[in-house]
């Protein structure tokens, strides 16, 4: 597969791992921001290739994981209504709310559908004029442009039966929260490549300067990740704290301007609560007043709905890099993908899911 195989090449990966080993002189802790990066690291066993001085912490960049229980409960309440067709990306369906998940609501007869794009939900709204079609708009800056596009198109077409349940979050405020924490353990970040493809790299400059922390925008394949790690380790060894771009084949400094304009047209900054972490000021996106008619929470009057998080779930610590999934007492016991306590165990980008799926036992011996 072109543009993928080159970045999964074993020889290139081993060469980069060797370069990291030669470059490193003391312990450094890096955090990969995106859950997609976490899965790649665990799936390919990249941490096994690294010298012991380099530790990786898994970051908060899993949109499914950080969506608060209250919003999942709102989704469940809306989906259970007769006359509603509730559309979602697939991996939200298994995320537990305070009592159940979307699969359970579906099995009792709710019309819950997996779609691949908010535009598919929009098409359904045109097809089913007698039903209320609701799209679960979850995600970081990566998915915000398409969600904004769907709302803008619905407004232009006067599609009154379409709305979105918004739970958008932004990366930079989360990094600020992690860096400002008294428990900070992070020396450098591998920033999320696809978020930066939309937003560019400039908004990370103040973070790098203020906290003296290297930030390397990094892609998702094994060779990419090892190259990003080498760039971050080199910065740390040289005492630099810059924003660098490993993912230059896709990410431009200014990002995708038309996508940013679309986000700005439909959404505005709002305070958001992150599951397991708590409220972070100005860390999310909500609909602007001109588009508020498309706000599903308001349309269905569920703004007050929402139960508490599971007291056993420590995903907040996992998402901040303060706890490794396998060190959680519930991991693999009270909490499994079949019976999860939190979203990190079921999301395809969740750190706990990655460890459960790829690393539940100690690594086997080399042949």
């Amino acid at each position: 597969m072109r543009f993928v195989d080159e970045y999964r090449d074993g020889a290139a990966a081993r060469t980069l791992a060797e370069a990291i080993r030669r470059r490193v002189t003391r312990p450094w802790t890096l955090m990969e921001v995106c859950g997609g990066q976490t899965h790649s690291i665990v799936r390919y066993g990249l941490d096994e290739l690294l010298p012991p001085e380099v530790s990786l912490l898994h970051g908060p960049g899993c949109p499914v994981c950080v969506t608060p229980v209250a919003i999942i409960d709102q989704a469940l309440a809306i989906a259970a209504r007769p006359g509603v067709t509730f559309c979602s990306f697939g991996d939200m369906l298994r995320v537990p709310g305070s009592a159940e998940d979307l699969f359970a609501v579906k099995s009792r007869g709710a019309d819950v559908r997996v779609v691949y794009s908010p535009l598919d939900a929009l098409a359904l709204a045109r097809e089913l004029p007698d039903r209320e079609v609701v799209f679960f708009a979850v995600g970081f800056e990566t998915t915000a442009p398409a969600n904004a596009l769907a709302v803008a198109q619905a407004k232009r077409e006067g599609l009154a039966n379409f709305s979105i349940l918004v739970s958008h979050v932004r990366v930079p405020p989360a990094l600020e929260a992690i860096l400002a924490s008294p428990q900070r353990r992070v020396d450098g970040f591998l920033a999320a490549g696809h978020v930066c493809a939309v937003m560019g790299t400039e908004e990370y400059l103040p973070l790098a300067a203020k906290h003296r922390v290297p930030i390397v925008v990094t892609a998702f394949e094994p060779v990419d990740l090892l190259q990003g790690i080498l760039m971050a380790v080199s910065q740390l060894e040289e005492g630099r704290a810059e924003v660098e771009n490993q993912y230059a084949r896709l990410v431009q400094a200014g990002g995708n301007r038309p996508a940013q304009a679309l986000i700005g047209e439909v959404f505005q900054g709002v305070d958001r609560t992150w599951r397991g972490i708590g409220p972070i000021p100005d860390s999310g996106l909500g609909l602007r007043p001109a588009y508020v008619a498309f706000d599903a929470a308001r349309r269905f009057g569920v703004e007050g709905v929402g139960g508490p998080e599971s007291p056993e779930c420590q995903s907040g610590l996992v998402l901040q890099g303060l706890l490794k999934p396998m060190d959680c007492p519930a991991f693999g016991k009270a909490c499994t993908p079949d019976h999860p306590l939190g979203a990190t165990m079921v999301s395809s980008e969740g750190a706990c899911a990655a460890y459960f799926r790829y690393r539940r036992f100690a690594p086997v011996e080399a042949p």
Partner: protein, 348 residues
């Protein structure tokens, strides 16, 4: 809330009290359903679970199996519900080392199903049965009200003869066995998904839907010591390896670089966030036999068009029972786990 702050808070389990889609996904939830509902009520085959049961009958041994088919859409690139219903059951018989003798077919039809379409499905069944040299000798038809069934469901039951001396069963798998597959993986699942979800790929992906009984026969008739055969349908190769490793009490290691996956299937999986090792095949077979016989087995399989893509993809190890690992292209090892339910396309 408990008034005693030190009281143990029992985790609130999300055990579903209704049947969910994942109960049919071939993963852990389906295993829980079988072990929690069916086996306690009906009892297990003392021989252990396999694709077909083998029963003694008048000095001979008969393989016996049944399977329900509910694919949607009923016609997909590379096949349709009718031929799937025949090949699926013929293949399950072959996985016990049996030669298929006869099939029974039961139809649950929804009021309003076009008769033309039904005739087309039945014609496909006849063509598939002829190809396998087996007859459909008995059947049953029920019609349900419109809205009470999804067009057509077909259940086929098969009877096969296990030749003397043939003993093909998961319990025979042992350390030192090679793991072979007869062709590339994940075609059927991606072909069906592409039409179900309206995904268009530059290269159309056709299902591998087809018979494998002749491939099984080729190995057995050559006198190879075939320990186990399994068709990697729901849950894909990864689930087969997990089931066999657990049933045989062995560890299995697969090698990523040796796993045959078509470029178009790999690309589709990449886009959708799926792992082809968990995607269903409907015309492939996984074979376990002593490593020393692997080269001969490959030659025999590759002599058939349906086995042209055969490959050795792993080996059975004397490790912790039930552990399946993947040796990645980078040389590292990771778990190749049984999935919870079906794979779900991800957000980004």
């Amino acid at each position: 809330m408990s008034p005693d702050p030190f009281a143990l808070t029992c985790p609130r389990p999300l055990v579903p009290d209704t049947v969910q889609m994942a109960h049919g996904g071939g993963g852990r939830l389906m295993k829980e359903l079988i072990e929690g509902v069916f086996l306690p009520a009906l009892g297990a085959d003392p021989q252990g679970l396999h694709d077909s049961a083998v029963v003694e009958a008048g000095g001979g041994r008969l393989a016996f199996t049944t399977d329900g088919f509910v694919v949607h859409p009923r016609r997909f690139p590379g096949g349709d519900l009718g031929e799937l219903a025949v090949y699926g059951t013929v293949n399950d018989l072959a996985m016990a080392g049996a030669r298929p003798l006869a099939l029974a077919a039961a139809f649950i039809l929804e009021e309003g199903l076009p008769l033309d379409e039904l005739a087309g499905l039945v014609a496909s069944m006849k063509a598939a049965a002829d190809r396998c040299g087996v007859r459909i000798v008995t059947g049953d038809t029920k019609v349900v009200d419109r809205g009470k069934g999804d067009g057509a469901f077909i259940t086929t039951t098969g009877l096969g003869l296990v030749p003397a001396g043939v003993e093909v069963h998961p319990r025979r798998v042992r350390p030192g066995d090679a793991v072979l597959v007869t062709g590339d993986l994940g075609r059927h699942g991606i072909a069906v998904m592409s039409v179900r979800e309206g995904l268009a790929f530059e290269t159309p992906i056709a299902s591998d839907c087809g018979p494998v009984h002749h491939l099984a026969a080729a190995l057995l008739e050559a006198g190879l010591d075939v320990h186990c055969l399994r068709d990697p349908t729901r849950g894909g190769l990864a689930s087969v390896l997990n089931e066999i490793a657990a049933a045989a009490g062995v560890a299995i290691e697969a090698r990523e670089d040796d796993l045959p996956v078509d470029e178009a299937v790999a690309t589709a999986c990449e886009i959708l966030g799926l792992d082809p090792l968990y995607v269903a095949c409907e015309g492939r077979m996984v074979a376990f036999l002593p490593e020393a016989q692997a080269a001969r087995a490959l030659d025999l399989l590759r002599a058939h068009p349906e086995g042209a893509g055969a490959a050795v993809v792993g080996r059975v190890l004397d490790g912790p029972a039930g552990r399946v690992t993947l040796r990645t292209s980078l040389g590292t090892a990771r778990l190749l786990d049984l999935l919870s339910g079906e794979q779900l396309p991800r957000i980004c």
